[in-house]
C-alpha cells in the first residue's frame, strides 16, 4: 500500500491468494514434495492393484501353490505348476509365502486395502471432529441445563483423549467381527479428538473475526455462515492433521493385524502380510521386510507431506 495511491486506483502489487502461496511454499520443501510424489505413486499402485488383482486378475493373490512355498524374490516358478497357477512372467517378483501365494500380488491387493482403511478412517474422524468441533465453537454459548454445549462436547472430547485408544480399539475389535469396515469405523471413531479441538479453536477465533460478524450483520443464515464463511477458513489445520492421521490409521491397522485382531482374510493388507511374515522372519525374511518397508515408506511420506503442509501454513513463514 503506497500513500500516494488513490484508493480507487488500479490494482496494487498483485499479492497471491492464500492457497497459491501455500502451494508455492510447499513446493520449496523438497522433503514434502518427495512425500507427495511417493504418495501419488502409491495411489496409482493402489488403484492398479485393485484393478489387476480383483477385476481383471493379472496378479493372483489367492492361488495356493504348495510346490512353490517360501520362494525368494525374483525366483522362477516351479515347472510342476499348472499353467493357470503360474505368475505373469513365470517369476515371483517378491517371492512367495508359506502357502506359495505370490507376495507381489498380495502386496498389490494390500496397497489398496491399507490405503482405503487409512482414508476412510480419517474421513470418519474428520466428519465427527468437524461436526463436534464446529458445534462447540459456533453454538458453544448455548446452555443445556447448567452446562454449555461447549463444555459438554469438550469434556467428552477430553474423556475420549484420556482413554488409551489402542486398548479401546482392541476391546471393540474383540467384541465385533474384525471385518475391514469395522476396523475402519473403529479407528475413525477413536481418532477425531484432535480434529474437533482444532476446529473448535479455529471457530472460536473465526467467530470474532470481522468478516464473520459482517455475515451475521447481513442476516445470513447460520448454515451459510458456518459452511461458506467459517469452514473453508478452518480447514487448513484439519488437512494437516488428517494427512498425518492417514499414516497413523495405517499403522494402527498394522498393529492390530500384528496382534491378530486386524483385517481377516481374504483381504490382504500390508499389516496382515507383515503379521503372517513375522513367523518366518529367519526362514523367509522378505515376508516380513517387504510389507514392513512398504508401511515405513507410506507412513514416512504422509508425515513428510503433513509436516511440510504445517510449515507452509505457518503464518509467520507465509509473511516472508
Amino acid at each position: 500500500m503506497h500513500a500516494q495511491d488513490s484508493s480507487t486506483g488500479s490494482l496494487i502489487a498483485h499479492t497471491e491468494s492464500p492457497w497459491r502461496l501455500f502451494w508455492q511454499l510447499l513446493q520449496r520443501d523438497r522433503l514434502a514434495m518427495a512425500g507427495l510424489g511417493i504418495l501419488l505413486a502409491l495411489a496409482v499402485v493402489a488403484l492398479l492393484g485393485k484393478a489387476t488383482t480383483e477385476w481383471l486378475v493379472i496378479f493372483d493373490p489367492t492361488t495356493v501353490r504348495l510346490v512353490d512355498k517360501f520362494r525368494a524374490p525374483l525366483s522362477e516358478a516351479s515347472a510342476l505348476l499348472p499353467d493357470a497357477d503360474r505368475p505373469l512372467t513365470g517369476v515371483y517378483l517378491l517371492g512367495t509365502d508359506e502357502l506359495g501365494r505370490d507376495v507381489f500380488a498380495r502386496m498389490l491387493q494390500g496397497s489398496f486395502v491399507s490405503m482405503s482403511i487409512g482414508f476412510v478412517a480419517v474421513g470418519i474422524s474428520i466428519a465427527v471432529g468437524v461436526v463436534l468441533g464446529g458445534i462447540a465453537g459456533y453454538y458453544g454459548e448455548v446452555r443445556i441445563g447448567p452446562v454449555t454445549v461447549d463444555t459438554l462436547i469438550m469434556r467428552f472430547t477430553d474423556a475420549m483423549l484420556c482413554i488409551p485408544i489402542f486398548f479401546l480399539i482392541l476391546v471393540v475389535v474383540a467384541l465385533l467381527p474384525a471385518s475391514i469396515y469395522n476396523i475402519m469405523i473403529v479407528i475413525g471413531l477413536t481418532r477425531w479428538m484432535g480434529i474437533s479441538r482444532f476446529v473448535r479453536a479455529e471457530f472460536l477465533s473465526l467467530r470474532e473475526q470481522d468478516f464473520v460478524l459482517a455475515a451475521r450483520a447481513l442476516g445470513l443464515p447460520a448454515y451459510r455462515i458456518i459452511f461458506w464463511h467459517m469452514m473453508p477458513n478452518a480447514m487448513a489445520p484439519v488437512l494437516v492433521t488428517a494427512t498425518i492421521g492417514v499414516a497413523t490409521a495405517i499403522l494402527t491397522e498394522s498393529a492390530l493385524s500384528f496382534l491378530g485382531f486386524g483385517v481377516q482374510p481374504p483381504f490382504a493388507t500390508w499389516g496382515n502380510i507383515l503379521a503372517d511374515g513375522k513367523n518366518f522372519i529367519f526362514d523367509a525374511p522378505w515376508l516380513f521386510f517387504i510389507p514392513g518397508f512398504a508401511i515405513f515408506v507410506i507412513v514416512l511420506a504422509f508425515n513428510l507431506l503433513g509436516e511440510g503442509m504445517r510449515e507452509a501454513l505457518n503464518p509467520k513463514l507465509q509473511r516472508r
Partner: protein, 335 residues
C-alpha cells in the same frame, strides 16, 4: 431538525463475564458498556469518541446485536430490537449495517469481491442472475471501484480499496443506518479523506445515518454533526460538534481535545491525560474519571455524577456543572 430519532439507545449495558468456573459461575464482570443512552436521527452522523478500551466497539456491536447486550433498550424506527426473535431480527438487519476498522480481516479471504458484495442479495432472494450482476456492478461503481473488480479476490487490493469493498457490502442491502467502527483509522491520511468524502456523499444520496466510532478527533470534525464522548463504559458528554470543540465542559473531553491538537507535525503532543484508563473490571467509585481528573472535587470519588443538560443540545455528567444545570430536566443525553 426535530424529526424523531431513527435509532434510540437507552441504558444499554454489556457486562462480560470473566472466566466462568466449572459450574459456569463468573468470577467477575467486565462492564465494557454500562448504561449508555444516545440517539441518531435520519441522515445524521453521531460520532462516538473515547480512548481505547472505553467500550466504543462493544456499544456499536451491541446496537446491532452482534454482541447480545446485557440490558437496556435499542429501538430502531420505533421497533425494539432487543425483543425481536431471530427471524424478525434477520429482516431488520437489512436496515442496519456495519463497516469495520480492519480492511484485511473484514473481508472473507476466500470470496471474490462480487460474492462479498452480492451474497446477501442472492441469499435473501432480492436479486439473482443478470440483475444481481448489474446491482453489484452498480454498487461497486458507486463506491468508486471498477465493476471489473468483482471477479477478483479481496487480497488483490490496497487497504483503501478494501475498505470501499466493505462499504459496498454494507450498502448492498440499502440500509438506513450504518455503524462505522473506526472505518478509516487503519488507512493512510490521504486515503482517509477520500473514504470520509465517500461516506459523506453516500449519506447525502441515501439519507444514511451513521454511528461513527473513532478515537481520532480530527476525523470527527469532518464528518459528525454531533459527538458523544465515552469514558469507561459511559457517555460523559454529548454536544453538537462545533459546540463540543469550542466549549467542552467535561474535564475528560477537555483533556482529549488538549491531547489532540490540529494535525501539525512540528508541535509535540501535549500529554494532558495523566495515567492509564482503569480496568473496566474494577472501575473507580464515584466518577470513574476522578483518579485522572485535574479538577476533581472532594465528593467526586464517592458520588456518581448524574446527567445534566447544560444547554438544549449539550449534556454532561460531571459534578463541576451541577449548579449550571438546567436542573436535569431530561435524563437522556440530547444533542
Amino acid at each position: 431538525m426535530s424529526t424523531a430519532a431513527l435509532l434510540e439507545v437507552r441504558d444499554l449495558a454489556k457486562h462480560f463475564a470473566l472466566r466462568r468456573g466449572l459450574l459456569g459461575r463468573p468470577s467477575g464482570w467486565i462492564k465494557a458498556v454500562d448504561g449508555v443512552s444516545f440517539h441518531v436521527r435520519e441522515g445524521e452522523t453521531l460520532a462516538l469518541v473515547g480512548e481505547s478500551g472505553c467500550g466504543k466497539t462493544t456499544t456499536g456491536r451491541a446496537v446491532l446485536r452482534l454482541i447480545e447486550p446485557s440490558s437496556g433498550s435499542v429501538t430502531f424506527d420505533g421497533q425494539e430490537l432487543l425483543k425481536l426473535n431471530a427471524g424478525d431480527l434477520q429482516r431488520m438487519r437489512r436496515d442496519i449495517q456495519i463497516v469495520f476498522q480492519d480492511p484485511y480481516s473484514s473481508l472473507n479471504p476466500r470470496m471474490t469481491v462480487g460474492n462479498i458484495v452480492g451474497e446477501a442479495l442472492r441469499v435473501h432472494g432480492i436479486a439473482r442472475g443478470a440483475e444481481l450482476n448489474e446491482r453489484v456492478a452498480h454498487i461497486l461503481e458507486r463506491v468508486g471501484l471498477s465493476p471489473d473488480f468483482r471477479h477478483r479476490y479481496a487480497h488483490e487490493f490496497s487497504g483503501g480499496q478494501r475498505q470501499r469493498v466493505g462499504i459496498a457490502r454494507a450498502l448492498a442491502m440499502a440500509p438506513r443506518f450504518i455503524v462505522c467502527d473506526e472505518a478509516v483509522s487503519a488507512l493512510d491520511v490521504s486515503i482517509q479523506a477520500q473514504v470520509i468524502n465517500l461516506l459523506k456523499d453516500l449519506q447525502d444520496e441515501y439519507r444514511l445515518a451513521y454511528l461513527f466510532i473513532t478515537h481520532d478527533l480530527n476525523v470527527v470534525r469532518h464528518i459528525a454533526q454531533r459527538v458523544a464522548v465515552m469514558y469507561l463504559g459511559r457517555i460523559v458528554e454529548t454536544a453538537g460538534t462545533d459546540e463540543l470543540f469550542d466549549n467542552p465542559r467535561h474535564p475528560y473531553t477537555r483533556a482529549l481535545l488538549a491531547a489532540n491538537p490540529l494535525p501539525d507535525p512540528s508541535s509535540p503532543r501535549p500529554r494532558a491525560l495523566r495515567g492509564d484508563v482503569p480496568s473496566p473490571l474494577t472501575p473507580p467509585p464515584g466518577c470513574a474519571f476522578h483518579p485522572r481528573c485535574a479538577e476533581a472535587l472532594a465528593h467526586c470519588d464517592r458520588q456518581t455524577p448524574t446527567w445534566i443538560q447544560i444547554a438544549r443540545r449539550h449534556g454532561v455528567a460531571c459534578h463541576l456543572h451541577q449548579n449550571t444545570s438546567r436542573q436535569g430536566d431530561d435524563e437522556i443525553p440530547d444533542g
